[in-house]
Symmetry: C2
Subunit: 409 residues, 2 copies
């Protein structure tokens, strides 16, 4: 019967949240700011919830230094919903920018950078949604692979020379952090010198860039927001409970998908996935997931109040990751473990993946860890192994304790 | 600075929840069942959350007596998301049942029963999603109006003779309770004798029937589940916090929308809106909104434990509505108020709408009510007036207090 203090939660998401935030949320659940009503019992159009969502937006804009020509949206459907929404909205924007008659319209390429399971799923969804609506019709677009690390079983990132971008793509898509194998594009501080930095300069000018930032969102600053068309992230890693997805959308991509559909040659966009309708209604076109947004707002306030900002968090998160990788590299030399990702610049700070060498040893490791209070360390069901996720709410002390356990195992 | 006990919350949704449920949820937020982790911090694929979602499903099946050939799903996107999903899935099912070459395929009619703002929005979405994907192509379907009460400004229900159903519709759609004006199809007990009962017998045999039950879900038994193809409901009225939508789908409608798309002549379905993929994955295809599902599970357990079942709730909800309508009818005779819905059998038990007669009187009424602890009574912004929503968690005592206030005003 452990208390929160006796447990180290390394979940890959949904993942731990700061205790002080949860304490405030528990109070808000029963009586929000002395209204006599809980936060889940208040109209999403009332002044109380409006202050919550607007506060979250302002704090996010400040923390990430989001430029004025970008709109912040709170959506439902998770990252997987955005696999679809990105295609639908960006193809609609592309179509409206090329208002030729449908029969003269050339289906644009869409360039996917594949670095793991999530970007691959996004690519598969683009293929589904752009297939011809009638056998006699052209496809809506031509999804293609601009780079892929499948040959390495998703254990590294593409090098600069491996990218092959189209000149005229409707957009380029990449996943900043792949949670399953623990691959992440290097941080801004490392990226200048790294062969694995995302090659913004190789993307032809004017081509929109979309990034899935689900697992690393607000774990450190986002370099070059202004080079992106859309950045999105499911909340359930660093930001809040599951059920809300945050979008940062450049304003020219807030387009009327119904108008695009009237031109023809674009797939239809369900209304809840249209960015413009969300934007026009301050993310309140229909009832939003109020509690997940509320807790996210508390987390953002917590980050703002804790001063250091994302730069401070970056330092802590870097220290956590470096400590664990150093411990694992040492243990690998002793033949006890195997790191899944070998190359330092491709290693995720958020999801650290490794295998325990020796038959039956993995089970013993996980059971031993559990007894010591280390929770949710099991690797993703598709790959097995061990995965320690080091999101913002995981403390350096928890990582130190895990390192001690690994050394002693 | 009121306590929960000093406030009567008549919100139209998100709406009040039982205090005991919120107390348990507040505990679960910090330490769920002595795991040392909060419910929002647990993997949706772990044994703890699996027990939550499976328990919710079992209790819902038991409470509503849902037949075995129906699957219960937990989805994101709200009722508005289902405006789209229903069209996409049912057209895909229809297409697969008519696997002729695309050029020989006849776009089916879809019959909408319009009784207010929500069914009208659903109809508009069907029109958007079924429009021709190329100017030279046929439409995917032909949405049409099978009945409408627009001429009454949505203040009554169609009579039997006013329905005009197609023989070969892909589906018939209706909204069981329209929250804005407070219109609801009569309960099972009244429906035998009522001219406003939904005319299941007039719908041609074999035509699928879809119902939006968002506002009345689990407020009383659902008559004739077996006559429906799909029933859906946003949680945020009687069931739980906003952010989760419950679906009851007949198993033959769990179809592979990608296979339908390959035949052509159906709109593409974003993966998160495909019923089959949700069903195949126990509503865990992607990360679900775990907290809204958890609280909904607590509410369902609370209803099961409170014995009376939905029949008991029906009695209480009927008593609450009858008391308030009787008070309003009396006040209307005295010229103090005007009820929006005149005909008893068309009146919603969930959303009671009225106007205060006399210039400036409405403002005075709402301000006076607020001072006495009556909250969230303002009518929907599109129609104004007063609306008292009497969802499950609103007690008879709160309704009695409101009636006293109306009498004394």
């Amino acid at each position: 019967m452990p208390t929160r203090e006796q447990v180290h939660n390394f979940a890959a998401g949904p993942s731990p949240l700061p205790t002080t935030v949860l304490e405030e949320a528990a109070q808000g659940l029963l009586n929000y700011e002395d209204t006599g009503m809980g936060i889940c019992e208040l109209s999403h159009r009332g002044k109380e919830f409006k202050a919550v969502i607007e506060g979250a937006e302002a704090n996010l804009r400040s923390l990430l230094s989001i430029p004025d020509n970008y709109t912040i949206l709170f959506s439902q459907g998770g990252g997987t919903g955005q696999f679809s929404a990105v295609v639908l909205n960006l193809l609609s924007a592309h179509r409206l920018a090329h208002p030729v008659p449908a029969e003269q319209f050339t289906p644009p390429p869409i360039d996917y950078v594949l670095t793991g399971a999530w970007s691959s799923k996004a690519y598969a969804e683009a293929q589904r949604l752009t297939s011809p609506p009638f056998p006699s019709c052209p496809a809506f677009a031509a999804p293609r692979i601009a780079a892929s690390t499948k040959a390495t079983k998703w254990t590294t990132l593409p090098k600069r020379e491996e990218y092959d971008f189209s000149k005229d793509a409707a957009f380029v898509y990449y996943c900043e952090n792949e949670t399953i194998n623990g691959i992440e594009f290097p941080s801004a501080s490392a990226s200048e010198s790294s062969p694995y930095a995302f090659p913004f300069d190789l993307v032809p000018e004017g081509v929109n860039i979309v990034a899935d930032y689900s697992s690393s969102f607000i774990s450190r600053p986002i370099p070059h927001i202004e080079k992106h068309a859309v950045i999105y992230a499911g909340a359930q890693k660093n930001l809040g409970p599951s059920g809300v997805t945050v979008l940062i959308v450049r304003n020219d991509l807030l387009v009327d998908t119904t108008e695009a559909a009237k031109l023809g040659a674009v797939p239809h966009t369900p209304i809840t996935y249209e960015y413009k309708i969300l934007a026009d209604n301050g993310s309140l076109y229909n009832t939003p997931p109020t509690f997940p947004i509320y807790v996210s707002a508390l987390v953002l306030k917590h980050l703002i109040d804790n001063k250091g900002g994302l730069e401070g968090l970056e330092e802590t998160n870097k220290a956590k990751a470096e400590l664990l990788y150093a411990t694992l590299d040492e243990a690998e030399k002793e033949g006890k473990v195997k790191c899944v990702v070998k190359e330092k610049d491709a290693r995720s700070w958020m999801n650290v993946t490794f295998e325990i060498v020796g038959e039956g040893k993995e089970k013993a490791f996980l059971e031993g860890a559990d007894k010591k209070g280390f929770r949710q360390l099991k690797g993703h069901r598709s790959v097995g192994g061990v995965r320690a996720s080091l999101y913002n709410a995981v403390t350096l002390e928890s990582v130190q304790a895990l390192c001690e356990f690994i050394k002693s195992f």
